[in-house]
């Protein structure tokens, strides 16, 4: 159990505190970390709290980009008018996390650094192509979220010497749409059996960009390029969506789990959720409803 709990007042302060206390670790919402500590899965002497650092909860649009602070909570993200309008997949994903109490405390940065394969907002951030800004004493780096994973529960962000200060999502402009779909045994306090986030752009009637992220079908949020490729250059029809969904299903490798569903079921559901998310995203992108019933 930790013996010391420190509040950092700036990112630099946080890094200094981490450096001054070897074995210290950064804590944001603590919704995962505190459970690990209680269960004795981690031995940490000093915790450095970043939730009081000014600016670390920012949600803003700057120069065609959306900036999200690493300590922005799921509640802030899901209720932000800006995010609901510009990045609806992320707003929906944040609203699906845990329960109101967990959403009030848990942060976007934590959801990524905890490195669970099906963390809802992480899945959305990968689909949106978010880039994380990470500070350490030696300097700053910018890394796409999907490149931050080293394995289940293992992040390339080292919370004992680094701080993830913000995510940057470039706005694609005219004709873009995103959506999030989730299958879970109940509506709250439930890890997903499967979740999918997609982002597309349609220019002059054809899909020009697409990102599809599916989880948990791999050790990390799975950015399914095979499925995205099917869409590029195509008119977003039900048939094209179905082909993309089939490609996603073929590429997905979910595990068998008595608790979260069999591999076969979740493969079938991959096609269903990808279809539903793409249909919604293309509808948003084009302002047209796409006839669904061909899943």
């Amino acid at each position: 159990m930790p013996r010391q709990y420190l509040f950092a007042t700036s990112p630099a302060d946080c890094l200094a505190m981490l450096a001054a206390h070897p074995g210290a670790r950064l804590i944001a919402g603590g919704t995962d970390l505190v459970i690990d500590l209680k269960e004795g899965k981690r031995q940490i002497h000093t915790l450095v709290d970043i939730t009081r650092i000014p600016g670390l909860k920012i949600i803003a649009e700057e120069n065609g980009k959306i900036i999200l602070g690493g300590a922005a909570t799921h509640t802030q993200v899901s209720t932000s008018g800006l995010i609901r309008e510009k990045l609806p997949a992320l707003a929906a994903a944040a609203a699906a996390v845990g329960s109101p109490q967990i959403r009030n405390a848990g942060t976007l940065g934590g959801n990524v650094v905890n490195a669970q394969p099906a963390a809802d907002t992480a899945v959305a951030l990968v689909a949106l192509g978010a880039v994380a800004t990470i500070l350490r004493r030696e300097g700053e780096r910018q890394v796409p979220v999907e490149e931050l994973y080293e394995g289940v529960g293992l992040s390339k962000v080292d919370a004992s010497r680094e701080i993830l200060t913000r995510f940057t999502v470039e706005l694609w402009g005219e004709g873009e749409g995103s959506a999030f779909a989730r299958l879970s045994p109940r509506r709250a306090l439930s890890l997903p059996m499967l979740n999918v986030a997609v982002r597309v752009q349609v220019v002059e009637g054809r899909c020009t960009r697409a990102r599809i992220c599916i989880a948990p079908v791999a050790p990390q949020p799975f950015l399914c390029e095979e499925a995205a490729r099917v869409l590029i250059g195509q008119e977003p029809t039900a048939d094209v969506i179905a082909r993309a969904a089939a490609a996603a299903k073929a590429a997905a490798r979910p595990r068998d789990s008595l608790l979260r569903g069999s591999s076969a079921y979740r493969k079938d559901m991959t096609a269903v959720l990808v279809t539903r998310a793409l249909t919604a995203a293309f509808s948003r992108a084009t302002g047209r409803k796409i006839e669904m019933d061909v899943e």
């Binding site: 329960s99 299958l183 045994p185 109940r186 509506r187 709250a188 306090l189 439930s190 890890l191 059996m193 008595l258 608790l259 569903g261 069999s262 079921y265 079938d268 559901m269 269903v272 669904m292 019933d293 899943e295």
Partner: protein, 763 residues
């Protein structure tokens, strides 16, 4: 009959104390220097302890005692919260000791420690070294009954705990006579109560050398007896106190912790010890609901009359008997009154397995058999092409019917009105027409299911209840009952009954909510939906006695004969005119202080209710099924109950809300899962065990058909458990209506539903 307090939605008598946090639960009971107990649990489902070394644990500073099976009395005892049976043949199965040298499920209690604090106790458990000889885990009744399977308990052949059933009429003849025969196989899953307050108890030895146990229980007087039995000490040496309880649903109609807590305090010279289970422990080492498999064969006549039914049941009772034998029988008894037929044969097998112990849980076997029978009847109606509601109506019971085996009589019955009300609430005919030809991936459907249940356990069990009333100096009264408030609202309805009889407002009835076996009248406890009906009789009897004594006293004061008097609005009045004679408070003062005639008024009454009352009801459900994912959503749900006169409509409605929520979880999501090879629990926590949240439950519609039950002083009947009974089959029948696919297994979770749709060629 016109009531002034009964039938009104008055606030719970404990509402303010509970919402302000002033109510004291067992966990709030703190003695100075209280020690902490913890249990060492077997990691194996079936294993013999070859060797156990506790020396390191004992040596740990802060450890006050370490107990193993070698330190507990060599006495086998039964834990089921039943009244004692004078007839040895009717006693519960005595099959366990307080700690065991043979683990029978993952989590079985092998050893225990008492330490100065939680962390030390947890540390001490890690220092206990146990060598196990691992045996084959028997995780299904089929595996347990297999020829040559190891025995979980040495005295039960093929691991069968009990096979007691019955036959009414001649079943084979009935099948001969029937025009059609239908057969189905159905099964339910293991679920858990998940009451808010985990199991907890504290114990110490008082200055008289008696063991005092403060515990979260539904059955304080029975706990006293069972602790006495388990420890081999006189029952009077045990005192049990039951403070506020945060729910039980049957898991606390069982003696889970108290004998061990008592032993713990004895092991530390009588110092106070608290034993509190975590949620994870609570879910494996208290009780669960039996998973039961049914094979049903039914003979029906051309015109849709049920002629005979044969039900074979296999009930998985887990590692110890608890209520197992009794639940198979109770379930097989209470459902049968609904549709009387010529012949009914019930053959249950209750089988030990190496899984957590199944015991009493809301409905006590009825949710299982009602799921099976109401699903089966729905299948039959559809095969016969008869409207499922008409089919049921052709076979319903009438007032006057007498159960051929137990002699209980139907004296009030509103099931037909319940059905009509439910149809109307859900707009059955209109929606049925609308959903006739659906296409697309989302389909809607309507379903219903009926149930019958009883009010208490007569004639199988004793129905004893005690009440004590004292008239205070100001004209208010104290009410003491042996029946236990566990959140269901019994204290409030008893207060209403007393207020009604004595003509005083409810806030002048001071209910002593805590049961203390030293001072509380005897009552067998909160179970079998018995309290309002059974204990209500004792409460009414005591109140009437106090009223009679008051009026007699006034006769002495005024020369007005008692039979000409009544009590209304805290005044003694003339019965015929309502004219006030004197305030009740004045009479009360005289009963205490009249220097010649003073005689404080009390009543101390017991009532042995050798009677029962049948209750009925129905669930109507509308669902939407997503064919692509297998997800079922309950759009609307209505429960309509005939529980006789409703004493407090708001409390009754709350009871139905809770029961329907529990039923929806049972239907769609809840299931305890175990590793198929080792029997290790996979989801004994509230994250992985998917109880529905408030977000998953639609608005619940509640209605009552208020018949008047003549055997109850206020016309009331049972309501506690029933709301949960018909919910799962109603939802199942709605899914069948929406999709044409007949599910025969609970829960209907998305994956299972999806797989079944694939199998049925629907997708």
């Amino acid at each position: 009959m016109a009531y002034t307090v009964v039938g009104k939605s008055i606030n719970r008598v404990d509402a303010v104390a509970k919402v302000t946090g002033q109510a004291k639960y067992t966990g709030d009971f703190i003695e100075r220097d209280m020690l902490v107990g913890k249990i060492l649990r077997s990691p194996y489902a079936h294993a013999i302890v070859k060797n156990i070394d506790v020396s390191k644990a004992r040596a740990l500073p802060g450890v006050e005692a370490v107990l193993t099976y070698a330190d507990v009395p060599k006495i086998k005892f039964a834990t089921a919260g039943h009244p004692y049976a004078l007839d040895p043949k009717h006693r519960d199965k005595e099959d366990r000791t307080i700690l065991t040298s043979k683990a029978r499920f993952v989590g079985d209690a092998i050893a225990a420690v008492v330490a100065t604090d939680e962390l030390t106790a947890a540390e001490a458990l890690k220092l206990i070294e146990v060598e196990y000889e691992v045996l084959e885990p028997l995780l299904t009744p089929e595996a347990a009954m297999r020829e040559g399977a190891p025995l979980i308990h040495d005295d039960c052949e093929r691991n069968i705990l009990s096979s007691y059933g019955y036959e009414i009429g001649a079943i084979e003849e009935a099948f001969q006579e029937a025009d059609y025969i239908f057969e189905d196989e159905l099964e339910t899953s293991i679920v858990q109560h998940c009451q808010l307050e985990n199991h907890v108890s504290c114990a110490y030895v008082d200055s008289d050398g008696r063991i005092v146990i403060v515990t979260s229980t539904q059955i304080p007087h029975i706990v006293r007896r069972i602790v006495g039995q388990a420890l081999g000490i006189p029952w009077g040496r045990v005192r049990v106190i039951k403070p506020c309880v945060g729910g039980g649903f049957g898991s606390k109609q069982d003696v889970c912790l108290e004998p061990l807590t008592a032993l713990m305090t004895l092991a530390v010279g009588g110092r106070p010890v608290r034993l509190e289970l975590s949620r994870e422990e609570c879910m494996i080492d208290t009780r669960t609901r039996h998973a039961i498999k049914y094979k049903i064969k039914t003979g029906v006549s051309k015109d849709g009359k049920l002629i005979g039914m044969h039900i074979a049941a296999i009930s998985n009772t887990g590692a110890y008997a608890s209520h197992g034998h009794s639940i198979a029988m109770a379930g097989g008894t209470k459902f049968r009154i609904l549709y009387p037929m010529k012949a009914l044969k019930y053959e249950p097998l209750t089988v030990y397995t190496n899984l957590p112990v199944a015991g009493a849980m809301r409905g006590y076997g009825s949710p299982q058999i009602t799921f099976a029978v109401e699903s089966h009847l729905e299948n039959i109606a559809r095969k016969l092409g008869i409207d499922p509601i008409e089919f049921r109506k052709k076979n319903l019971v009438n007032v006057g019917y007498v159960d051929p085996l137990n002699g209980n009589t139907v004296r009030s019955c509103g099931i037909r009105e319940c059905i009509e009300k439910g149809k109307e609430l859900i707009k059955w005919d209109e929606k049925k027409a609308r959903y006739k030809n659906q296409a697309g991936t989302k389909r809607r459907g309507l379903g219903m299911a009926c149930f019958s249940y009883a009010s208490g356990t007569h004639p199988v069990g004793l129905e004893m209840a005690g009440a004590r009333i004292v008239l205070n100096q100001d004209g208010s009264v104290q009410l003491q009952i042996g029946a236990t408030e566990i959140g269901q609202g019994s204290d409030t309805v008893f207060a209403q009954m007393v207020a009604e009889v004595l003509g005083i407002p409810v806030d002048m009835v001071h209910v002593i909510s805590t049961q203390d076996t030293d001072i509380t009248p005897f009552d067998t406890g909160a179970y079998a939906s018995r309290q309002t009906y059974i204990t209500g009789m004792a409460v009414a009897k005591a109140a009437l006695e106090v009223k009679e004594k008051i009026l007699d006293f006034v006769w002495g004061m005024t020369d007005i004969p008692a039979h000409a008097l009544d009590i209304k609005e805290q005044n003694i009045v003339y019965k015929h005119s309502g004219e006030v004679v004197m305030p009740l408070a004045e009479v009360a003062l005289h009963t205490y202080y009249d220097t010649v005639f003073a005689r404080p008024i009390t009543s101390d009454t017991s009532n042995n209710a050798r009677i029962n009352a049948f209750v009925f009801g129905v669930t109507f459900a509308e669902v939407e099924v997503d064919l692509k994912t297998g997800k079922i959503e309950v759009l609307e749900i209505y429960n309509v109950h005939d529980s006789g006169k409703i004493i407090n409509p708001q409390l009754a409605e709350g009871q139905v809300h809770g029961g329907v929520g529990m039923g929806i979880g049972y239907a769609l999501a809840e299931q305890m899962l175990f590793d198929e090879k080792t029997g290790k629990p996979l989801n004994n926590n509230l994250l992985d065990y998917k109880m529905p949240t408030i977000m998953d439950i639609p608005d619940i519609g509640v209605a009552f058909v208020e018949t008047f039950e003549p055997t109850s002083p206020f016309g009331c009947k049972a309501l506690g458990e029933p709301p949960t009974i018909p919910v799962a089959p109603a939802i199942r029948n709605a899914v069948l209506d929406a999709t044409g696919v007949a599910f025969n297994r609970l829960p209907m979770n998305p994956q299972r539903v999806f797989e079944k749709f694939k199998e049925a060629g629907l997708i």
